[in-house]
């Protein structure tokens, strides 16, 4: 009974912080964090709650970023339509990935998603509309409900609204009967199957939902930075989202947000100081997390809290 109330308070506190943040922090940095937080939350829905490790989520982030960029820049569509196009495009790609990858389990699933994402990467590298290594630059932000989004502060609140909406959707999914089945699949797939549930369909739906939300993150990112690059679709990005989720706490609601904030800030701080050693540091964090810190920050926090509660009750 303690659990949901605590997380509701945490959510409200987080929202209050988000609304006040631009007064102290550069809004573009917070927007970047929010985009990656959404990306990591979408990924967590799959790994943390369904037990499927996708090593190809960069494909959804990257392709949605390009689709939205193309829709806004070349087709000059309204902002909202552009965002929707990116999200739907990623969902469709997710359906293709999911249909293929779900045929294999565990470690093979991870390898299949990684290989398919590499296929998408090469397609994006060669397709004429992505402008290859240069990326798609100068994407206009456009207007939303009459508000000009070129202003960082105006865009900030739109991004916050998008993030909160998507976050709410993910929480709602996890708490729904559908989410319960996903968790059951994570715990014991064979048993869920023997109870008569169509496991493949549940997994596919979770995959498509996760891909769509990752796509929304990519589409929003294009809006924030005015460009889409190949880096978003590279396998390094697929690894980064695993790291964010792992550091924050696998299978916790707020973990991916904390992890994304930490990793993005760290990368921002370190980029000028240590240059190319950033990759080494990210790798080291990975190794340490897997060896000694598998519950992640939020997971450890929850474990500590439970221990305290337990002692009180005794």
């Amino acid at each position: 009974m303690m659990q949901p109330r605590l997380s509701t308070y945490a959510g409200l506190a987080g929202l209050a912080l988000l609304l006040a943040a631009p007064a102290v922090i550069y809004p573009v940095l917070v927007m970047k964090v929010l985009c990656f937080a959404l990306f990591a939350c979408a990924f967590n829905l799959l790994l943390g709650y369904t037990g499927l490790l996708s090593f190809g989520h960069a494909a959804f982030l990257g392709s949605a970023a390009y689709i939205t960029g193309h829709a806004l820049k070349v087709w000059e569509l309204p902002t909202l339509v552009g965002l929707a196009a990116g999200t739907l495009g990623a969902a469709a790609l997710g359906w293709v990935f999911g249909t293929l990858a779900i045929r294999r389990h565990g470690i093979y699933f991870a390898m299949v998603t990684l290989a398919l994402a590499q296929l998408v990467f090469f397609v994006l590298l060669q397709a004429p509309f992505t402008h290859g290594e240069d990326g798609l630059q100068g994407v206009p932000r456009g207007r939303l409900f009459g508000i000009d989004l070129a202003d960082d502060y105006a865009l900030y609140y739109v991004v916050v609204a998008l993030f909160v909406g998507a976050f709410w959707l993910i929480r709602r999914t996890i708490d729904s009967p559908f989410g319960q089945i996903l968790k059951a699949i994570r715990e014991n797939e064979a048993r869920v199957l023997s109870l008569g549930y169509d496991v493949t369909r549940y997994k596919l739906l979770a995959f498509v939902l996760s891909a769509a939300l990752a796509g929304l993150a990519g589409a929003t990112k294009t809006l924030v930075f005015n460009f889409a690059t190949l880096g978003d679709a590279h396998w390094h990005m697929s690894g980064e989202v695993v790291l964010m989720t792992l550091v924050g706490g696998l299978g916790t609601v707020f973990g991916p947000v904390v992890g994304a904030a930490l990793i993005v800030t760290l990368q921002n701080e370190l980029a000028d100081k240590v240059g190319s050693l950033v990759t080494v540091i990210m790798g080291a964090i990975f190794v340490v997390c897997v060896l000694a810190f598998r519950r992640g920050i939020v997971g450890e926090g929850i474990a500590l809290y439970r221990r305290m509660i337990g002692e009180k009750n005794r």
Binding site: I107, L119, R294
Partner: protein
Amino acid sequence: MTDIFGVPLQALMGQLVLGLVNGSFYAVLSLGLAVIFGMLHIINFTHGALYMMGALFTWMLLEYAGVGYWWSLVLAPAGVGAIGIVIERVLLQRLYKLDPLYGLLLTFGLALMIEGLFRHLYGVAGQPYSIPEELSGALDLGFMFLPKYRAWVIAASLAVCLFTWYTIEKTRLGAYLRAATENATLTQALGINVPLMVMLTYGFAVGLAGLAGVLAAPTTQVGPLMGSNLLIVVFAVVVIGGMGSILGSVVTGLGLGLIEGLTKVFYAEASSTVVFIVMAIVLMFRPAGLFGREK
């Protein structure tokens, strides 16, 4: 000159040989992955980085110590194997009781560290390494010129694969190994030192990756990023072939190399993606892989 579908025979054969060279690397690397997976139940994401290390050691040996290709062929894989043994003892050993996904994540982190470190030290650009004198030049086969070095890479890789197959399938050591793969606890109970076998298996398989790196050094620019892109293709090869049989990985590796070579001749744009497309098709019709059995 004879043409086949409008392509000169010479060019076609050249690409096919190149395809076989790439295919040999796929075969040696996927073989190593399969052996490691059998014993450790880990997908070794570090494999690409260790392959790169093999190539870079070869280059460093020549650059800093004046040690030539033939000695590198022994020293570099031994060095890589030793590093692998340290990795297994210090890190991987702690993960055997956990979900295999953690092994993938740990080795991914390690790959990032190794790659990042070499990138920091040597930059992104590759270093050239020249073909040893004994193997430079080409053989005239009448219908084509076969560069000696390419023939050597294919022959050496096939010999290594054959040796591995023979060791695992036909020797006493291999029998222990197969027993430990099948049921580690029972094998241990019969008095065989399984942890030692696991350590040696990892060291050996990783050494194979290092050897592939040495073989690759004169065929490409030796640089920090040469391993990771190759490894993702090898993952696709593993998915296509399945990790059930050694000969299966060899055949799949070589076959996909050939397909890649053919694609380069007839539709070059798709040459970097064709392996992944084949993988998607195989998944549709034979989800367990060509030589695999789904557990």
